[in-house]
Symmetry: C2
Subunit: 142 residues, 2 copies
Amino acid sequence: MLLRIDHVGIACHDLDEKIAFYEKVFDVTVVSREINEEQGVNEAMLHIADGEGGGSYIQLVQPLGPDTPVGRFLERRGEGIHHIAYGVPDLPKAIRQMEAIGVRVLDKEPRHGAMGTSIAFLHPKDVGGVLTELVESPRRQS
Amino acid sequence: MLLRIDHVGIACHDLDEKIAFYEKVFDVTVVSREINEEQGVNEAMLHIADGEGGGSYIQLVQPLGPDTPVGRFLERRGEGIHHIAYGVPDLPKAIRQMEAIGVRVLDKEPRHGAMGTSIAFLHPKDVGGVLTELVESPRRQS
């Protein structure tokens, strides 16, 4: 069911500063930047590795304001790891499987994620305190 | 410098219960179980994917007691994501690079990690609140 660790989301106060830090310390490269109004974040994807099931990234997320999910996370816990995202082959099917097994899905319909992906978040209370995201990559044109 | 997201460490109260949960919900398989007295944890590695740079795992960690780093983490923040670990090709070299750049390394000498790896942790205050582990896989016999 899980193809890869797609990314780990890290909440920060200053996206540009944190990108510069990761570039300098870990020699990683930004492959995508995006403002996601729906999720209330300014975000960047930094490429770590490729695998059979797709790429793995660090996602740095800066809240667009204090009254957003990531803004409240920063207020409560400070900067740090915010969520983990797994690649799945078929997101609507994965959502149905989660609901069938009793894991609440915060997004009933897949929504827009970074780099053209479809995503859905699972309720952290149903996944041992871990905010968990499922990610389906965009289908390649054949 | 980074070969892969080696694993994401998740702190939990009951390792057996959490393993059963991940097996059931995400259809992943335990590939290693270990008690690490030095780190004060009972831990399991669940395989997610393989890539060019090696495997990716979820690491579930249960503290051996309340007065351990993971025990204090659970007391303070509850169950959830504890750390992220990146694969590196040469851990002693990576440790020297981190120190040269001003990132404090909690383990001056590589120490024993899961599945025969060598590991070192970086100070979370120097990595934007993220407890970061560097992992070198055991060298294969040729």
